[in-house]
Amino acid sequence: MSKWKIYTPDGVRDILFDECYAKREMENRIRNTFRSYGYYEIETPTIEFFDVFSSEIEHFPQESMVKFFDQKGRILVLRPDITVPVARITATKNRDVQLPIKYSYIGNVFRFNEVGGGRQNEFTQAGVEMLGDYSSESDAEIIAVAINTLKSAGLENFQIDIGQVEFFKGLAEEAGFSNEDVDRISKLIDRKDFVGVEEIVNRYKMSSELRELILKLPGLFGSIEVIEKFKKATKNVRSLAALENIEEVIGILGDYGFSKYISVDLGMLKGLNYDTGIIFRGFTHGVGFPILSGGRYDSLTSSFGKDCPATGFSLGINMLMTAFENTQMSSEKPSVDSLICYKKCNRKSAIEIAEALRRQALNIETFMLIEEIEQGIDYAVSKQIGGVVFIQDNGKITIHDIVKNTINETSYDELINN
């Protein structure tokens, strides 16, 4: 009956003291970065209707969502992301709000993933979304927020890879690929599978320049010069507009002073139905998966009944934590400043002192001794608390410094005012 009692389900886990502390600190720094750009935080329900996530445009595969029923038999899911709920809010509750609307969120999302390497079935996403702005300025701002978010989290060595799906879409249109082949070839390009791309291209008749360009797409990544090179290689209006957009965005990021974090990948293609312009991913050492991902999704809100351009990004906090762990970067740890020990008869003055010190923003634990002071010192050592304050009879107070191994006598006033 209680076979599973002592286990946690696949892909979810307990996050204990040090890790939880580091995570909250990281979340706070990320939250402050979001606020500093004017992206205000919202909370959306953990539970949503299945239909919210099963629109034509952004389909989370059915099998990747955690599903159950409400009392009326309707299908519910644990939210697999927060971007889609933001689109829902924009098209419904916020439909008459002055645009652009800037959202931010930090919350847990749920997907049946393959677990490992930082991936979990329940994980924390932090992200921002800007709804109602078409411009390259907003594309660039979102990437700038992403870069500053990583910096504020304490990461220095990372890279943001920028692509533009319209570049590919223009070429695909010109080549006259069938819908199925567009889908297939985009996946192959994204995998940088030159062989597979060539196989499909060979089935179509097209100009030799176009053929050449599509075959090169998987390798079209690296520094910004990639763009300049390919501006000359095509006359496709849609593709050229994409290159201009990406060039402008990179120019603006230069104004932010962020050029060193930027690279370009025109062969990066994620969800063709969902992405409508700039897309980007963030990488760092120590994790094999992108730590953040974002881009433009102008057609998502229309599935909720309002046309509204949109761009945003989300970051996997757990993934970021894994990067810190694997590269041995130190993270903050929780700490208690002092342990106040007392015997039952001195409880009142011990509590008074503890509360006074806590009001001074110190972290204080109290410990009622049943045996001698060694009992409290043992506990302090095990919890790595550096100082023990022993409240004794007749107002006598001693401070035991565990690191220096000294004992000093002090008074109530000295302790509170110092």
Binding site: G116, G117, Q159, D161, R191, K192, D193, F194, V195, G196, F221, G222, S263, D265, F283, T284, H285, V287, G288, F289, P290
Partner: protein
């Protein structure tokens, strides 16, 4: 400098991979010696190697435990891992095929119940669902797949076909080709970006070797 880690498939791809890496100036002496060490290195180029079961190579690369991997296209198709597939190395070439008794030639669509014996359940399922748009019963086997139709375990099989001799000797024929298979070089998505220069140098070097040998 950070070590680059290369995962090689243990088995028939090993020697050919080693030879290719040596040709581009990577020191594989440690790799060729019959040591029991699991991880071997070229200290000069800061490269580590390890040998893994072929089916595990895409996993190591996807998770970033290895930056580069050498593995057969069959394994890549079966494992469906999210990696960059940057080079077709050309060697160990063969086909993934649907095979069965000769009398089924041109008649597979008429069969009502199809049981498929295979070592590659994912490839078989994908092929039937996506290419033929039908549901089938997949029977996972671990070897001598040709046996299955002979003893009535399945109607057809999905398997690698090299020369076709085994099939022929057992009265089976290729009913459809599913994919061309050969050894591939795969790269982790993050490594490709974070260590682009060094990895690109290896890719370019290997590519030149392959062109020179053609």
């Amino acid at each position: 400098m950070r070590y680059l880690t290369i995962a090689l498939s243990k088995g028939r791809l090993t020697d050919m991979s080693i030879e290719l890496f040596e040709a581009i100036g990577i020191d594989c002496t440690e790799l060729k010696s019959s040591t029991r060490k699991l991880i071997l290195s070229d200290e000069k180029n800061k490269i580590k190697f390890f040998l893994a079961k072929p089916a595990d190579v895409p996993t190591y690369v996807e998770y970033g435990a290895a930056d580069i991997g050498i593995v057969g296209k069959d394994t890549l198709l079966e494992e469906g891992r999210n990696v960059y597939e940057v080079l077709d190395l050309g060697f160990a070439a063969c086909k993934m095929a649907l095979a069965g008794p000769a009398e089924l030639q041109g008649k597979i669509d008429e069969l009502n119940i199809k049981r498929v014996g295979t070592k590659y359940p994912n490839i078989a399922r994908n092929y039937f669902e996506k290419n033929r748009r039908e549901s089938v019963e997949i029977i996972k086997l671990n070897g001598s797949v040709e046996l299955a139709p002979l003893v009535g375990l399945s109607e057809v099989i999905v398997d690698l076909v090299e020369s076709g001799r085994t099939l022929k000797e057992n009265g089976l024929v290729v009913l459809d080709t599913i994919a061309d298979i050969s050894a591939r070089m795969v790269v982790n998505r993050v490594s490709m970006k974070m260590e682009n220069e060094r990895i690109q140098k290896i890719i370019d070097g290997v590519r030149e070797q392959l062109v020179a040998r053609r």
